[in-house]
């Protein structure tokens, strides 16, 4: 069977790792919740709760914050164990610009790489050239220019940066409103202004033009960074994102299995307040959280990325 598969892919009619299958996997994740997990047991709880994918990590962002020091790609052994424990897609994070960590993650067979500001950046000027890889990448952004630069580098999916590990949704809201608001502005802009707009926000002209024509980003756009309750998840969906990443918000709460299921249901039924009220009942303690506005600039993760 293994040989047959290779033969099939070499017959010239069949292509792997093209832009359609990379962006397409993100399209299949829409309307869903991607959960940070640090053990195979967590991964099983996430899958059981209805997660569409898990992010395999050694520490959730709240612990990365508390721990300090340099945060790197997770141990490949842990990532393999998590891959073996679930049937849903497994994502993992590499440092910004660390293309060798990305090569290792691709070799492990992860389904999606998050080139993430939550880890300590490895390059202070450049991101990974994501076109070089057969598996898709997701990258964070705070505004439309940043989103389009990442898509230009080959990102197949975008997420807001928010402020990871805080349990404070305010930065995710700010970043989602910024991206979606800029797209609305772009739609009203006469075509002769697009080149200057592209120059000023540092985005590739062709992608600015495409975004204007589509009225949305050319790739799927999730929220991330501070989502801790079903109401937070539904808020981001009503603002207009395609789905949610939840990091520390689930496994730093009192009852992760219950909260995970509630956030999944709130992401699907984001427009139904009766259902939102029901799933928000009796979830136990949410993660404690830190107000994002109380963080000194040196502790803000969202400022990482260029």
């Amino acid at each position: 069977m293994e040989n047959q598969k290779t033969e099939l892919k070499d017959n010239g009619l069949t292509q792997v790792g093209g832009i359609t299958v990379k962006r397409g996997l993100a399209q299949m994740l829409k309307g869903g919740v991607i959960m940070d997990v640090v053990t195979p047991e967590h991964a099983t709880i996430a899958e059981e709760a209805g997660a569409v994918a898990v992010m395999a990590l050694e520490r959730v962002p709240a612990d990365i914050r508390a721990h300090g020091g340099v945060a790197r790609m997770s141990d490949p052994g842990l990532i393999r164990e998590i891959i073996a424990s679930v049937s849903i897609p497994v994502m993992a994070k590499c440092r910004i610009g660390h293309f060798v960590e990305a090569q290792i993650l691709e070799a492990l067979g992860v389904d999606f790489i998050d080139e993430s500001e939550v880890l300590t950046p490895a390059d202070e000027a450049h991101h990974v050239n994501k076109h070089d890889f057969k598996i898709p990448f997701v990258c964070g952004c705070r505004n439309l220019g940043e989103a389009l630069r990442r898509i230009g580098e080959g990102a197949a999916m975008i997420r807001t940066k928010g402020e990871a590990g805080t349990g404070d949704v305010v930065e995710a809201v700010r970043h989602a409103r910024s991206v979606l608001g800029e797209i609305k502005r772009l739609q009203l802009m006469p075509n002769e202004e697009l080149m200057t707009y592209a120059k000023n926000c540092g985005a590739p002209y062709e992608l600015v033009k495409e975004t204007k024509e589509l009225g949305r980003l050319p790739v799927v756009n999730f929220a991330a960074g501070g989502i801790a309750t079903p109401a937070d998840a539904a808020l981001m969906m009503q603002i207009g994102v395609d789905g949610n990443f939840v990091g520390s918000g689930i496994f730093k709460s009192g009852d992760p299995a219950l909260r995970a299921k509630a956030i999944v249901e709130a992401t699907t039924h984001f427009n139904d307040p009766q259902i939102l009220a029901k799933v928000s009942e009796n979830l136990g303690e949410p993660m404690v959280g830190i107000s994002a506005s109380s963080l000194p600039e040196s502790e803000q993760l969202a400022t990482r990325g260029w």
Binding site: T20, G24, G32, T268
Partner: protein
């Protein structure tokens, strides 16, 4: 001409893409998240997404029996995760509607790095033109066994079954909603018109 009102199961996944194509083809299209939203529909599409997520949400929100009853009387098309959900059997423990007499093997080609695009020859679409259908497979299942009245309508060049029709039901392992070739959607609308 009969008005076609097609629901798209919108618990999770690529429902927006199907709805856009259905509207372009002149059908009415609506999102289905709760049982009462099936009323008045003439057909249903179950989109790609994560089949475990879709199955769990369908169980929690009381959709399993209403979907089975709907399928007994109307045309239904499942793409990728939708194919798995429609199947009587699959290789993992998860909620299934058990409508179509097929065995769906999940993630049958491997992980995302093995996801692929290829040209398929689909005689039911071609009207003698022999124009291939460009098919996108993403962590896709295939149909490992076809029983009863289910018949294979598309295969890979190695013979693997990737699309099947059984009476008023259609299932494709790939994603016609991700390409600009609308022939599979037209084919399903024709099935709905003939129903």
């Amino acid at each position: 001409m009969k008005t076609l009102r097609i629901g798209v199961l919108s618990l999770q996944g690529a429902f927006r893409e199907h709805i856009q194509i259905l509207r372009r083809l002149g059908a009415e299209a609506s999102e289905v998240r709760l049982p009462q939203q099936l009323h008045g529909l003439t057909g249903l599409i179950i989109p790609g997404g994560e089949s475990t997520t879709i199955g769990k949400l369908a169980v929690t929100y009381g959709l399993m029996d209403p979907l089975r009853e709907f399928a007994a009387a109307h045309p239904v098309w499942g793409t990728c995760a939708g194919l798995i959900f429609l199947a009587k059997e699959t290789d993992s423990l998860q909620p299934l509607l058990g409508v179509m007499d097929i065995f769906a093997k999940r993630n049958a080609f491997g992980r995302q790095v093995d996801s692929f695009e290829t040209d398929l020859f689909v005689p039911v679409l071609e009207n003698g033109t022999a124009e291939p259908f460009h098919a996108v497979f993403i962590r896709s299942p295939y149909i490992a066994a076809v029983r009863g009245n289910a018949g294979v309508i598309a295969k890979l060049s190695d013979g693997t079954a990737v699309a099947v029709r059984e009476g008023k039901w259609l299932a494709t392992a790939f994603h016609p909603e991700l390409t600009s070739d609308l022939r599979f959607h037209r084919y399903f609308l024709q099935m709905s018109r003939d129903d």
